[in-house]
Amino acid sequence: MYRFIFKRLGLLIPTLFGVITLVFFMLALSPGDPVRVMLGERANKEAVENLKAEMGLDKPMSEQYVLYLKRIVQLDFGKSIKTGQKVTDEIAARFPATIELTLFAMFLSIVLGVFIGVISATKRYSFVDYASMVGALFGVSTPVFWLGLVLIIIFSVNLNLLPTGGRMDIRYYFTPITNFYVIDGFIHLFTKGDPKVLGSALVHLILPAVTLGTIPLAIIARITRSSMLEVLKQDYIKTARATGMSERKVIFKYALRNALLPVVTVIGLQFGMLLSGAILTETIFAWPGIGKWLYHAIEARDFPAVQGGIIVISTCFVVINLFVDLLYSVINPKIRTE
């Protein structure tokens, strides 16, 4: 077991190194001069040269690369061209918003997805089964950005039930402590006895979380169903039933546990995907997270910000995948010996 963990951890470092290297060369070799972006097209030549020297862009590429690696190892992504603030600070300020949204979307899709999958499998070929699988098929075929807008039309514009965007009603002044607004809302509730902040945070989360969670929900429902069907065919399920155990116990204690193996892998994969899916969802719902921020950085060719953002998101993605692999080997001992 420990050997497996070490082996898998050992793979992490070259992968991250590769990611960091690829990001450097993609940006270094791309058209568009960051210095020109900073100073504007009409800046004089001297100013451009000075700033280049200051940023180390006048050195040969190999030297730039070494300097870049040194900085990244120290978690120094430089300063944003657009705002002049440290990229790490900008990311840290926005990361909680994205994590909060991603966790809610994931929670929603896991709970509902597993539930729908189990119901579909146990009531195979019933109306419920057909309806959920058709629904899941539509779910994976839906463009997320469009779904978000349609939900806004229905629930915000027409029914006037939910806000169109943002994280918090602007009428509520409060000082964020953790920047996870739901947690901040709880703190506010307990210290001030005021539930409005928590309520507003939750209400603002509904539409973005539903939008972001639709595709993982559909995928999890499909995979849970097929995995459950596979498990329900096994002899040990027959044995369990033969002992006179209640069907509920057979399904939840014996079948579901075993059926969850492939589901865990998919959940991990989707979790990583959500971090980048957030780019679209955050843009639609004016959600001040890292996805929207990164998109604007790309648009503005803010190279240090783009570098930092991509490296942070990819690192999360790689680490989550690693974690899923390890988790999988804990649940399924067969993997370890391979």
Binding site: T15, G18, T142, L149, V157, F317
Partner: protein, 298 residues
């Protein structure tokens, strides 16, 4: 040995034998009702794309400022008009051309280059394999939506670049799938038999191994077209793909965002078009997977 020789013959003289395998697959695919429904939807979209000038009631680019944001079924505009008074239905019909082409073209990029890389990697192994798989590993370490956005942002926001970016970002998946099947085929008896008969490497790769590795990659490609259509629409939505006034579905949604409070149809209908087109490819893809590769069935 006997079996493997037969297999060689199948691949060699083409017509009769090969036809029978694919014909059998076609027969079982035809029994799959949802796959056939998907196929009909795709054919319908392709027909719409091809005959767009004949069937669209208006010019998709013609602006009519007097008839802006007309609701559906008014003034002869079945789906209404957009904020420039352009007929929505005609724009959606022309949009089918763009989305279908992008879907096929970007999948073709990943399919062709991914397959070649996977074939060579799996067959020859060695330094090329290590290098190619190292690069695909790194590319797979990026969430691919992010990778696509970064590539297209670097190349410049045009429709062609969006296609290329989608093709490149998905390429590692195809290379991986192809390599895995080549590795499995390489050690099979019929390949050894042909080797002992002195068949050249290139003939082995393209005449014997490749045809046997096609099933998983075809499945991947069919499902990939739907994904590519959504992704290209998403890129255009973000302003990284088609540029105005192109009647591209994602761009149509993006440019109508500010009117969602008073003209719901401008946002809604292009999205339904995307949904239906992607649904068609997903239905067919699921069906083909069940026929060609029952192990992957879910």
């Amino acid at each position: 040995m006997n079996f493997s020789l037969k297999k060689i013959l199948f691949k060699r003289d083409g017509t009769g034998a090969i036809d029978s395998i694919w014909y059998e697959n076609w027969i079982s695919l035809r029994k799959n009702r949802s796959a056939m429904f998907g196929l009909y939807m795709i054919v319908l979209f392709i027909l719409i794309a091809v005959f767009a000038p004949l069937i669209s009631p208006f010019d998709p680019l013609a602006q009519d400022i007097g008839f802006r944001k007309l609701a559906p079924f008014t003034g002869g505009h079945i789906l209404g008009t957009d904020d420039f008074g352009r007929d929505l239905l005609s724009r959606i019909i022309y949009g089918a051309r763009i989305s279908i082409v992008i879907g096929f073209f970007s999948v073709a990029i990943s399919l062709i280059f991914g397959s070649i890389i996977g074939l060579l990697s799996g067959f020859y192994g060695g330094w090329f394999d290590r290098f190619a798989m190292g690069v695909t590993d790194i590319m797979l370490a990026f969430p691919y939506i992010l990778l696509t956005i970064v590539i297209v942002a670097l190349l410049g926001p045009t429709l062609l670049n969006a296609m290329i970016a989608i093709g490149i970002a998905r390429l590692p998946q195809y290379a991986r799938v192809m390599r895995a099947s080549v590795l499995a085929e390489k050690s099979s008896e019929y390949v050894e038999a042909e080797r002992s008969l002195g068949v050249s490497n290139s003939e082995l790769i393209f005449m014997s191994i490749l045809p046997n590795c096609l099933a998983p990659i075809i499945v991947q490609a069919t499902l990939g077209i739907g994904g590519a259509i959504i992704e290209s629409a998403a890129l255009s939505f973000l302003g990284l793909g088609a540029q105005p006034p192109t009647p591209e579905w994602g761009l149509m949604i993006a440019s109508s965002r500010e009117f969602i409070s008073n003209a719901w149809w401008i946002v809604t209908f292009p999205g339904i078009a995307i949904l239906l087109a992607v649904l068609g490819f997903n239905l067919l893809g699921d069906g083909i997977r069940d026929v060609l590769d029952p192990r992957l069935k879910d």
